[in-house]
């Protein structure tokens, strides 16, 4: 990413008052300053310490000796190793210095070159770019797992991978996609763009934001390391007695999900605080871009839902290490407890994956329809409504569990009600495209793909919310196809729309429209070709996560597997597009290639360290396409003219509020 930065002059952050000081610092060898390599060293040392401590504590426990499994040493190794990783990155320097009353290390200056992408940095734009690369990596790895276990499903009864490896891969794929990819939009696009869209020079809590990023590689490595010790047999849902029973691979799931929960929490707190308190003058809530509204709604759900997950993971960790019994019924616990804690997070989680893509959709449609966003207030109300309702539907995952059967009509009602605010997204899209001047570009294609896929995903959701129909559909491939239509077909299509749309903002380069068109058409064709047959597979009686299935379903399964391979090829086209654009062609794009009115496009590339020389005053909505004599979206005031809150703030000299 951003490979052309090397060619820009070193002083691209020249407005900084600290410009003179770093000259001395910069002479220090870059390799010796905290960076990701030191993080790895810290991780190894930390793991060794934690592992040793765990062995010292638990090596002679009856359970450890009988099972050859020391969960305590593994968990402590993971935890101390993660702390070591963060320490090696230099994340604890600032809080430690504050703690002992020393002068904290000087804030960073603008740095040329690629080095900053391998370090802990407080620049939200660098964090956004790091997030983008990380998310693409996690997505590709998760997808490769899917290709491996789809290969196993080529035949109903003969096998290429063993049943335990199959379950491991299914769990890895699910966890990678549902857990690591939760921040696929709020991470790269939220962190990078929200300050630009609301006219802020910085985010509210840059250290929390950077920490939220650097927790994800730790979670990624911990999760993958599970494969080396036998994986976990529970899928991404980690249902309780099975997870308590499982071997050590389960600990990697718990620790990694826990790290990721912290990451989501920190990122969400920063996002909500930034949006609420760092808006430029004139950027009223009524003028906030819909994407920012979506980020606010997403962040609010995260702040409320993720702690419940964290509590559940903590209890499970206690069950597996100190041998408590929260989830085993013989000793007063209950497997239902895990199901409730998990899905109380798990269903809002699904909307954490839907709302950001709705935001991108509503943000991009006006640009390519060249019309104002239709029903702005209604759409915003819809986004908030989805967020509120998402906390009242989780028990529809337990329709067949035998718990609270008399509550099922109520949960059926709340679940079906959520299709009303979701439908508002379609209302907005329909209105925006009405008598519009549609331009078909690659981001627009992905938006239309999202609308197509999410329609099928949403409609099939109504089937599953209906208890009698769900009696057949629950736990079958129908459910699997349904949520792939909403997440892969909705969320990831929104993600790719965002990548194509904002790539010039991130890198100053515009992705090839031609290769992008190929990417879109192969992706939507093979996506549908992969998952449409899986609806039928589920309707015809194949449960999820099985390595053997009925012979009569082989044709459909084979079709889906081969389509999945081709879907993988489509994603290779996307990677090729990035390589082609950045490494081979590398031609700078224009400043505002999509002719958007958005505030984020008013800034030249490369984006200055502080985004805006002076905080702009926002005069109108970013969607005023076609409005006669519209004022400019924002103006930069004369230095003396406007002086209110954010204009005076300065990330360099200001005390950080969270320290």
């Amino acid at each position: 990413m951003a490979l052309d930065i090397t060619s820009s002059p070193a002083g691209d952050g020249g407005t900084l008052a600290t410009g003179g000081v770093p000259a001395a610092r910069r002479t220090r060898n870059d390799w010796l300053r905290p960076n990701v390599l030191w993080g790895l060293v810290g991780a190894v040392i930390g793991y060794a310490i934690g592992h040793w401590a765990g062995n010292a504590i638990a090596h002679n426990w009856q359970q450890v000796q009988g099972s050859d499994q020391n969960n305590v040493s593994l968990v402590l190794g993971y935890l101390v190793g993660s702390v070591g990783f963060l320490a090696g990155l230099g994340i604890v320097n600032y809080p430690l210095a504050k703690l002992v009353g020393r002068q904290p290390p000087a804030p960073e200056e603008a740095q040329p070159g690629l080095g900053k992408f391998f370090r802990y940095t407080l620049d939200h734009k660098v964090v956004g770019a790091q997030y983008l690369v990380a998310m693409i990596l996690y997505f590709m790895v998760g997808g490769l797992f899917a290709l491996l276990f789809r290969t196993e499903l080529l035949s109903p009864t003969s096998h290429v991978i063993t049943p335990d490896a199959y379950i491991e891969l299914v769990g890895m794929h699910g966890t990678m996609m549902m857990m690591m990819m939760t921040s696929a939009i709020i991470g790269p696009f939220g962190n990078y763009l929200v300050p630009l869209m609301i006219g802020s020079k910085r985010v509210a809590f840059p250290r929390l934001e950077a920490l939220s990023l650097w927790l994800t590689p730790a979670a990624f490595v911990v999760l993958l390391s599970g494969l080396l010790i036998g994986g976990f047999p529970t899928g991404w849902t980690g249902y309780a007695p099975l997870a308590v029973q499982a071997t050590q691979g389960m600990d990697s799931y718990l620790v990694s999900f826990g790290l990721m929960a912290l990451s989501l929490l920190f990122g969400a707190v920063n996002m909500a605080a930034t949006i609420i308190s760092h808006r430029a003058p004139g950027m009223t809530f009524g003028r906030l871009p819909i994407f920012v509204w979506a980020m606010l709604s997403t962040a609010s759900i995260m702040v409320l839902a993720v702690p419940v997950l964290f509590a559940g993971l903590y209890l499970m960790l206690m069950d597996r290490t100190w041998q408590t019994a929260f989830f085993t019924w013989q000793h007063g616990g209950s497997p239902y407890l895990w199901e409730n804690l998990f899905w109380f997070f798990g269903h809002p989680e699904v909307y954490l994956l839907a709302l950001p893509s709705f935001g991108i959709l509503a943000e991009l449609l006006p640009v390519f329809a060249r019309k104002p966003a239709f029903g702005y207030r209604t759409v915003v109300a819809g986004l908030i409504g989805v967020g509120v309702l998402s906390f009242f539907v989780w028990q529809h995952h337990l329709f067949m569990s035998g718990m609270n059967p008399d509550m099922r009509p109520v949960v059926m009602l709340t679940t079906e009600l959520i299709s009303v605010p979701t439908g508002i997204v379609y209302l907005g899209a329909i209105g925006t495209l009405w008598r519009a001047k549609i331009r078909i570009t690659v981001p627009m294609l992905f938006c239309l793909g999202l609308l197509f896929n999410f329609l099928l995903g949403g409609i099939t959701g109504v089937f599953i919310s209906d208890v009698p129909a769900d009696t057949t559909l629950h736990g079958s491939f129908f459910v699997l196809a349904h949520f792939h239509y909403t997440i892969m077909g909705g969320y990831m299509f929104g993600f790719f729309a965002g990548v194509y749309y904002w790539f010039p903002r991130f890198t100053g380069l515009q992705l090839s429209e031609k290769i992008g068109t190929w990417h879109f058409w192969t992706m939507i064709v093979f996506f549908n070709s992969t998952f449409l047959p899986l609806f039928a597979v589920g309707l015809l009686g194949q449960p999820r996560r099985v390595f053997e299935y009925q012979h009569r379903l082989q044709g459909l399964n084979d079709w889906a597997t081969i389509s999945a391979y081709l879907l993988g090829v489509s994603l290779l086209i996307f990677l090729w597009n990035i390589v082609w654009t950045t490494a081979i062609k590398n031609r700078p794009s224009s400043m505002n290639p999509w002719h958007s009115l958005g505030l984020e496009w008013t800034i030249p590339y490369p984006t200055p360290l502080e985004n805006f020389d002076r905080v702009p005053v926002v005069l109108s909505s970013p969607y005023d396409y076609g409005v006669p004599d519209r004022p400019p979206v924002a103006v930069v005031p004369e230095p003396v003219g406007v002086g209110c809150g954010p204009a005076l703030s300065d990330p360099v000299r200001e005390e950080d509020q969270h320290g």
Partner: protein, 226 residues
């Protein structure tokens, strides 16, 4: 950065990632080979014979304390695997040497031999049709169960007080053991899962973790070939 430099910066990580993935994929897809039973054909059709043993602790490898099945190759070598191969529509003679001690079943139904020829099994030369637990009975050590074929055989455990218990695989017949023999008929070709139903993954919740959930220890496939 120059164009070759940029290209290298992309190609090298990509190659590393591809290598890692291919290595991981190959490692995961390495499917254990099945041990073929000794076959013969008689006037009654195809026959095959299998010899297995159960050990209380493997004694080596990453999980030295786990219980396990071992299978004897036709050349007499004991192999740590649970992949069996027998001919279709054949009479299979099975001999299992049980070196492990016994415990309670989670489901007492598995006390009864099922699906064997005549509904009986031979324990140390004595033909029985159900293992009725006596007060001093050592309990069931393991079962050999193929649910899809309806075959299930309980393996009576060695008493806890046995003089010469075996502690590491492979065990020889010098150690205390029970010899269980039975016959069953295979049907059409296919891959059938078999497993033990005694909660022998001790120190795991409900005794069903660890060796019970890892291929090669207490469960595997019976490959019936035409």
């Amino acid at each position: 950065m120059s164009k070759p430099g940029r290209l290298l910066a992309i190609i090298i990580p990509f190659l590393i990632a591809a290598t890692l993935f291919i290595w991981g994929g190959l490692k995961l897809s390495r499917y254990p080979a099945a041990i073929a039973a000794t076959t013969s054909s008689t006037s009654n059709g195809a026959e095959a014979s299998l010899t297995m043993q159960t050990v209380p602790a493997l004694g080596s490898g990453p999980h030295p304390d786990w219980v396990s099945y071992l299978i004897q190759r036709p050349d007499g070598q004991w192999v740590h695997t649970t992949m069996l191969q027998v001919p279709a529509h054949a009479l299979v003679h099975v001999t299992i040497l049980q070196y492990d001690t016994g415990s309670d079943l989670r489901n007492p139904l598995m006390n009864q031999p099922q699906g064997t020829v005549g509904g009986t099994i031979t324990v140390n030369g004595q033909t029985v049709d159900a293992l009725t637990p006596k007060n001093d009975a050592p309990g069931i050590g393991h079962t050999f169960t193929i649910p899809a074929l309806g075959v299930s055989v309980p393996l009576e455990g060695v008493p806890d007080t046995a003089k010469n218990p075996c502690s590491a695989a492979p065990c020889t017949t010098n150690y205390s053991h029970n010899t269980i023999q039975f016959e069953f008929r295979t049907g059409a070709a296919g891959l059938y899962h078999w497993q033990c139903f005694v909660p022998c993954g001790t120190a795991f919740l409900y005794g069903n973790g660890g060796p019970m959930q890892t291929l090669g220890f207490m469960g595997g496939f019976l490959k019936v070939v035409a």
